[in-house]
Amino acid sequence: MASLLGRFCRKLVVPGSAHGSRMISTTACDSEAVKSLNLYSAINQALHIALETDPRSYVFGEDVGFGGVFRCTTGLAERFGKNRVFNTPLCEQGIVGFGIGLAAMGNRAVVEIQFADYIYPAFDQVKRVFPTLEFDFSTAEFLIRGFNSQIVNEAAKFRYRSGNQFNCGGLTIRAPYGAVGHGGHYHSQSPEAFFCHVPGIKVVIPRSPREAKGLLLSSIRDPNPVVFFEPKWLYRQAVEEVPEHDYMIPLSQAEVIREGNDITLVGWGAQLTVMEQACLDAEKEGISCELIDLKTLLPWDKETVEASVKKTGRLLISHEAPVTGGFGAEISATILERCFLKLEAPVSRVCGLDTPFPLVFEPFYMPTKNKILDAIKSTVNY
């Protein structure tokens, strides 16, 4: 119950509240104008900037016209017109497929899939996809609907199979993902692992508002198809000072957001706040934790994680997605290959369970702070 309350009451910390922690992005200089924004507002800002800076860019998806079910597209249709910001019919494979076509013609298409849970029908199109189309998928669940043919078979392979005659670099697919406390099977999924298995696309997951704006702008402008998962839990919960200007955070660069010596923790998105709490608790027991935000899962920054584990000798990975076949397995296997002799303990994975995401049982399913803390201790005491 406490963890449940903790989940609901969880808010991103005010800057500087935990020493040594850089949960809050350190992108902007102090002198630049910043504004206190939550995640959906930061994303909204990024979209405004993207549309402003490229007249051949589009934002579309289900319900984006009035601002979207999570308010990420507020004001865009009014400002840029219904020809550039519009609702689509309810069809993820159509949304992604249409976006691929737009990107193939040199446009930037920012597509929203309402829930990543619904991305699967578009899956196939993504494989053919053109990189920089941005789809605004409301939840990663719905993204699975787009997953089957368009994303995997079309988007991801578009440049390669054409011998670089064509590409859909302008495609970015945005989807809210992750647990929200009451989402159940179809509004809570974390499908990132499926996409990490598809050569040709990139997978990006921000942890906070400031990170989200910079990473989203990078994703939109990256010349490859990007699937951008937004932790929906943080849409309103996370508040941060976000620079008002146009800035980008590089892809495929992990960030050490908390330095430590005893164990390396790797995570992404909303899970990092949980992991940070565990790090704080561990510190009280004399364990110094290094926390890394991977940010880009495909292609991922192995070097930063490797350097950290060579220093600490221990690795713990945590993600909401089910443990079996989750992206933690890839990180674990890679680090084992690279750091075997430096490891003091087996790589630990604290992840979601191998069940469909349950409603009543969510608190049992989730990789909670205490599960992580216990794993930190048993790894350190191995």
Binding site: P89, V96, A104, Q125, K202, N224
Partner: protein, 468 residues
Amino acid sequence: MAQHLKSSSKSILLNILRHNIGFSSPSHASRHLRHNLPHGPLTTRLSPNPITRYCNTMVDTLSSIGSHEDTNSQVMDFPGGKVAFTPEIHFISESNEERVPCYRVLDDNGQQLTNSQFVPVSKEIAVKMYSDMVTLQMMDNIFYEAQRQGRLSFYATAFGEEAINIASAAALSPDDVIFPQYREPGVLLWRGFTLQEFANQCFGNKSDYGKGRQMPVHYGSNKLNYFTVSATIATQLPNAVGAAYSLKMDEKDACAVTFFGDGGSSEGDFHAALNFAAVMEAPVLFICRNNGWAISTPTSDQFRSDGVVVKGRAYGIRSIRVDGNDALAMYSAVHEAREMAIREHRPILIEALTYRVGHHSTSDDSTRYRSADEIEWWNKARNPLSRFRTWVESNGWWSDEAESDLRSKIKKEMLEAIRVAEKTEKPNLNHMFSDVYDVPPLNLREQELLVRQAIKSHPQDYPSDVPL
């Protein structure tokens, strides 16, 4: 008594239905009978039986709730617009009484039908059309044989569909972007893709624009606005819609054109694409090559509608059914469709009826599921080449001499193209790793190193014709 009650409760239901849900009436005549009581099973209402009168009263009360002041009003505003009511319960038939007729200009013998409407073609265009149809057929023959001889890994012919291929291409402009399925190389041919370029892709050599990554017949040319073939069925349809939207937004005098087969019309992407195209008002032509077969699946196992043309209306899309083996009809239909698409910002669906004379591919032997006689009949009696040739010759634009000159020229070119393609070296190994992304990421650079080490250790495991 029980029976009587049963029928009156049925009539209560029917009365409620009648007044609250609009069913389409089966014929125009019955609409005029709107104010009269219907005949048939509802005649129980006409009886003075007290139970029936109760039904009448109930129905009147219901019908006055939420309707317009004028209680005789037969129109209601639902979201989506006004719709007329009908007192008759009638289901729209699953099909029209007659199938949608098929537009054709030439009869089976290549004689122009009287009163046929068509877009005229000049001698130059007609001769090029016919020549390209011959070239396509010969190219297919020779590549097919090459595969049989083991010189090619795979091939798929377009036998029987030469008119669809060439005539549609001829009716388009070079700026129209093509999203093919895989049986439309004739469009590339029309636009100037050379036999050598076809051969290079089929042999996957270093001159292949696709850099040896895909199976034969997966052609693509950005120069000729022909997007690279992907084997997945119908995935190109929604892509074409997005591309068309882009053309519209950029105000280009061009449309997107996408091809697919009867089998492709069953895919989800077909429905997604048509719906999107209509809603987005995208200038895209959906050209269905209904050739009767999806590998071994006949159309009777594919859908139960009157072919594909009737599906257009379901999405609000203007559609036409054409004789796909009639080059003039194809040309005219595509020409008109293109005009409408670009001028009016709308999609058009063209169902080209034809027959797949060849096997699905070199991996298929279609005599296992259809009769050799049937194939032969279509090949001989309904051949698109001979029909068009007759018409071209009737204008004095072609001759036996021209035919044999062309055929010997093409044969020589083809054999030379194959000879050259076969001995051209394969693409360099580094092309396995390029173009996955715009720039190879670290993991791919690492993997290339690992592969090169493996090659050094075990060269016998690897083909010697791939340069390192």
